[in-house]
């Protein structure tokens, strides 16, 4: 069943702050095999002008996707999550995420389309720090594949 177009533009409440920890950044960098010292060594980060270790560029997805759960699981929207695949992902950075950040995410439904029976949902997540500074925007395109009988 096609999703309700009237949800386009809907803005969900900001998430509670997620505190970015040095060890979580280290864990993520190790999981992707990235040995850049700027992710684990505060001195190396400072040498590049950062006040603490920074996170790899895609680290913030874990936070924005969790926030997008508000949209995905919105019973009024009625998305069938068991059929969802990740279509596109994009980030625009004002500055890198760094240890000590307390980040909130505000999710907005940017678009709803129906293509060949597939529901295509575009969600924008605006990430701000504790001072209200904009840090990064994440755009996530989710595609709910058509059911076979449709």
């Amino acid at each position: 069943m096609a999703l309700d177009q009237s949800f386009v533009g809907r803005i969900y409440p900001p998430t509670p702050p997620y505190e970015v920890g040095r060890e979580k950044i280290r864990e993520f960098a190790e999981a992707v095999g990235d040995t850049n010292p700027v992710y684990v060594d505060p001195e190396a980060a400072k040498a590049l002008g950062h006040s603490d270790v920074i996170a790899p560029p895609t680290f913030v997805f874990s936070i924005t996707f969790k926030a997008a759960g508000q949209v995905v699981q919105d019973p009024q929207l009625g998305l069938d999550y068991s059929r969802v695949v990740h279509g596109d992902q994009k980030f625009a950075y004002v500055r890198p995420v760094r240890a000590g950040d307390r980040l909130t995410v505000t999710s907005t439904i940017e678009g709803i389309k129906s293509l060949a029976g597939n529901d295509v949902l575009d969600i924008r997540g605006e990430v701000h720090d504790e001072s209200g500074e904009h840090v990064v925007t994440a755009w996530t395109k989710l595609v709910a594949r058509a059911t076979e009988e449709a």
Partner: protein
């Protein structure tokens, strides 16, 4: 931001050093834990086959994380990345054997922009298939 590559030193067509990233089942379990994405299609082949996949597949976000390393290793400072986007076109299939899979990433400068920024277009392949489409980053050089 302190990129070690000077804007003046590159032109359209400049190639970044290519890299290959091995992926095993152990890699995917480790990434699941670090990212919090425990979808069983990334570690349970019975489940993956039941939903129509050929085998366990890598997290798209894992592939996205690997591909940008070609850019961040080139510039030195990952904080120089201004934009990064991809389309997930084909899954990276990861068999349960000694080899796993390989993600091969190449990249080149596609456009010179204002404010010492350049657009880099990335190509990510696995088993001869393009696994990322429209894969591009904007990065601020020194």
């Amino acid at each position: 931001m302190t990129a070690k590559v000077a804007y003046e030193s590159v032109e359209v067509g400049t190639e970044l050093p290519a890299q290959s990233f091995p992926v095993s089942r152990a890699t995917l379990v480790q990434y699941a834990g670090a990212s919090g994405d425990f979808n069983p299609i990334h570690w349970n082949e019975k489940f993956a086959r039941e939903v129509g996949l050929p085998d366990v597949i890598a997290h798209g976000m894992f592939t996205m994380a690997e591909a940008i390393r070609v850019v961040t290793d080139w510039v030195g400072d990952p904080g120089a990345v201004v934009e990064y986007g991809v389309r997930f076109t084909k899954p990276v299939v990861v068999p349960n054997d000694d080899k796993g899979a390989l993600i091969e990433v190449s990249a080149k400068v596609a456009a010179l922009l204002d404010d010492k920024q350049v657009r880099v277009d990335l190509t990510a392949m696995s088993e001869g298939k393009k696994v990322l489409g429209m894969s591009r980053a904007v990065v601020r050089l020194g």
